[in-house]
C-alpha cells in the first residue's frame, strides 16, 4: 500500500531523509519512531505528496505521490504536524468542509460529522472556532477530518500527543478497527507505550536513516528498551543548582 525506494530529501547540504526504503502492507498499522528532527515529518510530507523528493520514488495506493497528487489526496486522510486548521472555521464547519470537498453528499456528510463529533467528545465544542479551541480539541478536529472521507490510507503525525486518556483510547480503538477493515495507518509518535500497543509494524529512523524495520512481533525486547538501544539513550545529568536555596 505504501512503497518507498531510495527516498531522499536534501535541504542544501543537509540531508533530512537519506535513501529510505520501506514497504507497508494494506491493513497494517505502521508506527514510525525517531527523535525530534530525525526526518519523520519530512517523510510524511513526501508520502502525502506535499514535498517533492530530491531523489527516489514513493508509491501510495499504487500512485506515484509526486506525479499524481490530486488522485492521491482523494484516497488518503492526513493529520498534519501543524494540524491544518483554519482559525475562522468552527469545529463542525471543518468537518462539513471536508465532506463537501471529498465529494460526499450533504446527508452523508452530516451523518458522519455527527458521529465523529459524538465519538470524539467534540459535541459541546462543535460551534467553537478553531482559534478558541484547546490544543486537544484542535487535534481531535484534525483527526476527525482525516477519518471523515473514509480514506484507504491514514497518515497521522503525532496523533496521541496532547489528547486526554479517554480520547486516546477511543482513537486507538478507531484506528485498530479501521486497520481490521483494510485501512492502512502510518503514524508517528513519541508515546512509546501507545505505539507498542497498536503497532503491527515498527520503523525507527535516526538522522534520516532507517535503523529498524520489522513486524511488531519481531522486536527482540520492549519497544522502549529497543528504541533507547538503537535510536538514542537518555543521559540524565544532575543539575546541581536545581533545588538549592535561591541566592
Amino acid at each position: 500500500m505504501i512503497s518507498c525506494r531510495n527516498l531522499t530529501r536534501r535541504y542544501g547540504d543537509f540531508t533530512a531523509v537519506d535513501c529510505l526504503n520501506l514497504e507497508v502492507d494494506a491493513g497494517a498499522i505502521c508506527v514510525f519512531l525517531g527523535p525530534n528532527g530525525a526526518g519523520k515529518s519530512t517523510t510524511v510530507k513526501m508520502l502525502t505528496g506535499l514535498l517533492a523528493p530530491s531523489s527516489g520514488t514513493v508509491e501510495v495506493c499504487g500512485l506515484d505521490a509526486a506525479a499524481k497528487q490530486l488522485e492521491l489526496k482523494r484516497l488518503i486522510g492526513v493529520l498534519p504536524e501543524d494540524l491544518g486548521l483554519f482559525d475562522d472555521l468552527t469545529v463542525e464547519e471543518h468537518l462539513l468542509l471536508t465532506g463537501a470537498v471529498y465529494g460526499l453528499d450533504r446527508q452523508e456528510t452530516h451523518r458522519r460529522t455527527s458521529q465523529l463529533l459524538h465519538t470524539l467528545s467534540l459535541e459541546h465544542g462543535r460551534h467553537t472556532f478553531a482559534t478558541s479551541c484547546s490544543h486537544g480539541m484542535r487535534k481531535k478536529t484534525s483527526f476527525a477530518m482525516a477519518l471523515l472521507p473514509n480514506p484507504r490510507v491514514l497518515f497521522l503525525d503525532e496523533p496521541f500527543e496532547a489528547v486526554d486518556p479517554v480520547t486516546s483510547r477511543i482513537m486507538r480503538d478507531l484506528l485498530q478497527s479501521a486497520a481490521r477493515h483494510g485501512v492502512t495507518v502510518f503514524l508517528t509518535s513519541h508515546i512509546l507505550s501507545v505505539a507498542e500497543e497498536i503497532a503491527t509494524q515498527v520503523v525507527m529512523i535516526r538522522k534520516g536513516k532507517i535503523v529498524w524495520n520489522s513486524p511488531a512481533g519481531e522486536l527482540p525486547q520492549s519497544l522502549e528498551a529497543h528504541y533507547f538501544d538503537l535510536v538514542e539513550s537518555p543521559v540524565v545529568e544532575e543539575l546541581e543548582w536545581l533545588g538549592s536555596p535561591p541566592s
Partner: protein, 335 residues
C-alpha cells in the same frame, strides 16, 4: 530594571525579526494614495494619519509576548507599567511619529502635540489591552453559498471582515452613498473617484489573500483534494462579493473591473509570498512599487470602463481568469 531591560531587548529582537514596519507601511495602497492626495496638507494631518493609519498598521510590540507568559513573569506593578510605556518605542513607527511631532510643533507645545501624546499613550496602554474579537467570532453568521466551497468562502469572508481595510472601504462607501442621497447633485465622475478609493482601500488585501490563514490553514489547502484554482476562486469570491456590495451605490461595473485587476495583480505575492497579516490592522501588500503599479492599472481599468466602454471589463476579467489558471497550477506543485 535589569528584568525590564532584558524583556525590552527580547521584544526589540522579536519585533525586528517578525515585523517590517516600514515595508508594511509603504505596502498599503490606501496609505500610498492618501499620501498622494494629502501632499499639500498640513503636518498635523499627517500626524493624525500616523496615529490612525500607521500605528494600527504596525503591530503593537507587547503583543509579541504571549499574555500567559507575561502573566507568569515575576514583574512588579511598577515594572509592568514601565513596560507598557516603553514597549511602543520598540516600534520604529513610534519614533517616526515622534520626530514628525517635534518637527511640526518646532518647540512650542500645541494641541496637536497633546493629541499625539494622548495617542501614543493610548497605543502603549490600550491597544495591548483591548479585547479585540477574533474576527471569526464577530462574523459567525455570514451567509452560505452553493457548492462544495461554501465553508471556504465563508471563512474567507470572515477573514476579510477582520481587517481594517474593509472598515476603511465601508466608511468611504457608506459616506459616499449618504452624500449621494442627501447632498447636492454631483457630477457622475465623482462617483468614479469614490469607487476607485473604495477598491484601493481593499486592494492591498488582494496581495495577501492567504495572510490570515496561518501556517495550519495553508497546509490544509495543500491537503484538500481540489484544484488550485478552486482555492483561489474561493478567495476571489469573497473579495468580489465585498467589492460588489461596497461599490453598488457608486460605479459598480468600474469597481468590479478594478477589483478583477487588483486580484490579477495581487496573485503573485498572494501565492508565492503569503505574508502573514494581523487581524484588526491594515493589510501590508508586497512592496510600494508593486502597489503603485497595481493602483495605476486599477485606476486605468476603472476609468476606461466608466468613461469609454463597459466592455473593457471583459479584458479585466480575462486577466483575472488567466491569473487564476496560472497560479492555480503553481499551487498544486509540491514544495
Amino acid at each position: 530594571m535589569a528584568r525590564l531591560a532584558a524583556i525590552l531587548r527580547a521584544l526589540w529582537r522579536a519585533f525586528q525579526r517578525g515585523e517590517k514596519s516600514f515595508a508594511s507601511l509603504a505596502g498599503n495602497n490606501f496609505f500610498l494614495v492618501a499620501v498622494l492626495f494629502l501632499g499639500k496638507a498640513g503636518t498635523f494631518l499627517f500626524l493624525i494619519m500616523g496615529l490612525v493609519i500607521l500605528f494600527p498598521l504596525s503591530t503593537d510590540p507587547l503583543r509579541k509576548i504571549p499574555p500567559s507568559r507575561l502573566a507568569l513573569w515575576p514583574l512588579e506593578k511598577r515594572e509592568m507599567w514601565l513596560l507598557r510605556a516603553l514597549s511602543p518605542w520598540v516600534n520604529p513607527m513610534t519614533w517616526v511619529i515622534a520626530a514628525l511631532a517635534l518637527w511640526a510643533v518646532r518647540g512650542s507645545v500645541t494641541v496637536g502635540l497633546w493629541a499625539l501624546a494622548a495617542g501614543l499613550f493610548a497605543a502603549g496602554f490600550a491597544i495591548s489591552e483591548l479585547p479585540l474579537p477574533s474576527g471569526a467570532a464577530m462574523w459567525r453568521r455570514v451567509p452560505h453559498f452553493p457548492g462544495p466551497l461554501d465553508q471556504l468562502i465563508r471563512k474567507n469572508l470572515r477573514e476579510m471582515l477582520s481587517t481594517l481595510d474593509f472598515y476603511c472601504a465601508l466608511l468611504l462607501s457608506v459616506s459616499s452613498a449618504i452624500y449621494r442621497i442627501l447632498g447636492p447633485a454631483l457630477p457622475a465622475e465623482s462617483f468614479l473617484a469614490m469607487t476607485g478609493l473604495v477598491v484601493v482601500a481593499l486592494s492591498s488585501y488582494a496581495q495577501c489573500l492567504f495572510g490570515l490563514d496561518g501556517a495550519g490553514g495553508r497546509s490544509r489547502y495543500r491537503l484538500l483534494p481540489v484544484r488550485g484554482w478552486w482555492i483561489l476562486a474561493a478567495k476571489d469570491a469573497a473579495f468580489l462579493l465585498v467589492v460588489a456590495v461596497l461599490v453598488a451605490p457608486l460605479a459598480p461595473l468600474a469597481g468590479l473591473g478594478a477589483a478583477f485587476v487588483a486580484l490579477a495583480m495581487g496573485r503573485r505575492p498572494s501565492v508565492e509570498d503569503p505574508r502573514p497579516q494581523t487581524r484588526w490592522r491594515f493589510s501590508a501588500g508586497a512592496s510600494p512599487i508593486y502597489g503603485v503599479i497595481e493602483v495605476m492599472l486599477m485606476a486605468s481599468a476603472a476609468s476606461s470602463i466608466f468613461l469609454t466602454s463597459e466592455l473593457i471589463v471583459l479584458p479585466c476579467m480575462a486577466a483575472w481568469a488567466g491569473s487564476l489558471w496560472w497560479y492555480g497550477r503553481r499551487m498544486e506543485e509540491p514544495e
